[in-house]
């Protein structure tokens, strides 16, 4: 763990399934079951996958919004000390909360409608000890200017703003405490196409200015490709592939990644993307298939895939895949 800001090792989060009057535990939903990655300072890691694959649960574990079941989340603090966020008691976690912030998906649900922008954006400052209201107002004005909004807006309420503007407000709030790591969960998926580009540009600009590290959770591959240095793909709670952006698009080393990329409709009528459609459905994380979780939908599946679960391994420098045949086959 040399220059890594965050190192996630074998992250697990199980939710119990209860049954009957006594709420007997009859099984577990393995929402996250085997996620490993490192985040270097200043980079953007895109975390992609379909709904239910555990990408949001994984990102919430990192924020300790929920407590992980197992695994390690090693974080290097500002002072250079390495702590395990997975097991840190709440008291010790509190000072670190300012360093790790979140941008939410829904710009309509994530702002308090009864609070002005000053209070919405200023709340993290208040929590972190900035008691003086005038001081807070100055900082909020600075933050609003930073995200391209007029400082005069701070006395207005969220309902007066459009979706794109609200997402800017959400970004301003995330940046209020000078974070080092920002977890962005689908930050542009609720926005219109013409507004999406504005917010993506803003995120890139802010990252360069403040050397932010982003964990960018999204399902839209073209957006993730645009913003990420590296991309991690999740399927049924597991990380199935992790590689630099250019590499993963040039040569995916997992059949699921390849299928995911083929499924994206190309915005060009001259490119037909009909072939190689993935059949079947995503299995339930409560009862995943044997062996490789992807084998029932994989056209390259063999007997080995049905019985033996593949491990995440490095198939090329910096390129990890959870497939028995990675490196031997072209997907």
């Amino acid at each position: 763990m040399s220059d890594a800001l965050l190192e996630v090792r074998g992250l697990q989060k199980f939710f119990p399934i209860t049954h009957g009057f006594f709420q007997r535990v009859v099984g577990h939903v393995r929402a996250v079951d085997g996620v490993d990655f490192t985040l270097k300072e200043g980079e953007t890691l895109g975390l992609v996958g379909e709904s239910g694959c555990g990408k949001t649960t994984a990102s919430r574990c990192i924020l300790r919004a929920i407590d992980p079941t197992g695994g390690k989340i090693l974080y290097r603090t500002k002072s250079g000390k390495v702590v395990d966020l997975a097991t840190l008691p709440q008291g010790a976690l509190l000072p670190l909360r300012a360093e790790i912030q979140m941008i939410f998906q829904d710009p309509f649900g994530s702002l308090n409608p009864r609070m002005t922008l000053l209070d919405n954006v200023g709340e993290p400052l208040l929590v972190n000890g900035m008691k003086n209201r005038r001081e807070r107002a100055d900082r909020v004005a600075e933050l609003l200017r930073l995200v391209g909004l007029r400082p005069e807006f701070m006395h207005r309420f969220p309902h007066a703003f459009s979706g794109g503007q609200r997402q800017r407000i959400g970004i301003a709030r995330a940046l209020a405490t000078n974070p080092r790591l920002v977890v962005a969960d689908e930050p542009v998926s609720a926005l219109d196409v013409s507004i999406q580009a504005q917010v993506l540009n803003l995120l890139l600009e802010l990252q360069a200015k403040f050397k932010l590290t982003f964990l960018f959770v999204a399902h839209d591959l073209s957006v993730v490709r645009h913003i990420s240095d590296r991309i991690a793909v999740m399927y049924v709670g597991q990380l199935v592939e992790l590689a630099p952006t250019g590499e993963i698009f040039r040569q995916p080393q997992h059949p699921y990644t390849a299928a995911l990329m083929r499924a994206v409709p190309a915005a060009d009528p001259r490119v037909r993307t009909a072939d190689g459609i993935l059949g079947g459905e995503v299995p339930s994380p409560a009862a995943p298939p044997s062996g490789c979780y992807f084998h029932p939908r994989c056209r390259h599946a063999t007997e080995r895939c049905r019985t033996e679960a593949p491990a995440l391994r490095e198939v090329a420098p910096g390129h990890f895949s959870r497939c028995h045949f990675a490196g031997e086959m072209k997907f």
Binding site: T44, E50, S51, S162, G163, G164, Q165, D192, V193, S194, I195, Q196, A197, Q198, L200, N201, L204, E205, H219, L221, S222, V223, R225, H226, I227, S228, D229, T245, G246, F249, A259, L260, M261, R262, A263, V264, P265, A266, A267, D268, P269, R270, V271, R272, T273, A274, I277, L278, G279, E281, V282
Partner: protein, 344 residues
């Protein structure tokens, strides 16, 4: 070109709110040819969904169609009728709705009743429009309707159709639910299918399956489809002809290849540039459309796009450009290409 199946002319739909009048659809015109897949693109608030609801006479209060015509050619009828003149709850409109024009809504979860099985809901529709399936002199029974439903489920690729007919919508996955919705829409062999963002709520691999299914069904039944989406990728893959809408008006229309490779309207051009592609450079600033969508109470005068338009001229804020031919195949409403303004 043959006579269009549906012809919308100068359609206006307004909502009278306490705060003022919202002109959701403001003079929209387009045609749908028989068997054509027409793509309608636009951002939120562009009026694409309201236009479709107007075609089905489903505009909810306080909204109403204020002017314009929606001419539709019914089955077994040479003359077209104006849907805008029909009573929303009248017998004729009810006979058309579902039977000749069907809708696939965006949220299949909200569209199905959770307390009836999906099969029952489709059987109900078939029985309601029973004469479309009845052979000579024989009354359509419930058992017949059930067989038809099972057949439809098989057609739309639902496995174990006999069992799935008796499932409730919440027991089905998103993809299956959308397939069941498509089965319901097709149950009365409509001539026009309106698909309102049918794949927006589902995942990309499931989306690919549903799009392939729609394409296949369209070819098999030769149904005309109006495909509404904000996803330019889906439009490029599905539509043969595209209508681009902005704030209740058609900005540009033309064959799909021209729209993507030779867009004429500055809005279409800007929209195409602003989407991150799977091939372009990464981590660079994307070209953006400056500003935000105006508030519906605050429509700009003149061309609705002029405050955000890179090529705006003084003239653009004074008059509304009308939709005029540009070249041989496209139409655009922009003063860059012609100087014909809309009357009024």
């Amino acid at each position: 070109m043959s006579e269009p199946l549906l012809s919308v002319r100068h359609l206006r739909v307004s909502f009278t709110m306490d705060e003022g009048l919202v002109r959701a659809v403001d003079g929209t015109s387009f045609d749908v040819q028989p068997g054509q897949v027409l793509g309608v693109v636009g951002e939120s608030g562009c009026g694409k969904s309201v236009t479709m609801r107007a075609i089905l006479q489903l505009v909810e209060k306080p909204g109403r169609i204020t002017s314009g015509s929606i001419r539709f050619r019914r089955r077994d009828s040479a003359e077209s009728i104006d849907l805008a003149q029909l009573a929303p709850r009248g017998a004729e409109m009810r006979d058309i709705r579902g039977a000749e024009i069907a809708l696939i809504p965006q949220e299949p979860m909200a569209a199905f009743s959770p307390v009836h099985t999906v099969g029952d809901q489709i059987i109900e529709a078939i029985l309601l429009h029973g004469h479309r399936w009845r052979e000579k002199g024989r009354k359509l029974t419930r058992a017949d309707a059930r067989d038809i439903t099972v057949g439809l489920f098989r057609d739309v690729g639902i496995s174990m159709p006999e069992q799935r007919v008796d499932a409730y919508s919440w027991q089905l996955s998103g993809g299956l639910r959308q397939r069941a919705m498509i089965a319901m829409a097709l149950s009365c062999k409509p001539r026009l299918l309106i698909a309102d963002e049918p794949t927006t709520a589902i995942d990309v691999t499931t989306q690919a399956q549903v799009l392939a299914l729609l394409r296949d069904l369209q070819a098999r039944y030769d149904t005309a489809i109006i495909f509404i989406t904000h996803d330019l990728g889906v439009i490029a893959q599905m539509a043969s002809y595209v209508v681009v809408m902005y704030l209740g008006r058609v900005m540009e229309e033309g064959p799909v290849d021209e729209i993507f490779h030779a867009p004429k309207h500055p809005y279409t051009r800007a929209l195409l540039r602003s989407i991150p592609s799977l091939y372009g450079a990464t981590r660079v600033a994307l070209p953006v459309i400056s500003g935000a969508l105006p508030h519906p109470f605050n429509r700009p005068p003149g061309c609705p796009f002029h405050p955000r338009c890179p090529d705006a001229m003084p003239h653009c804020s004074a008059a509304v450009p009308s939709l005029q031919p540009v070249g041989t195949t496209q139409l655009a409403s922009c003063f860059l290409h012609h100087d014909i303004a809309d009357p009024s």
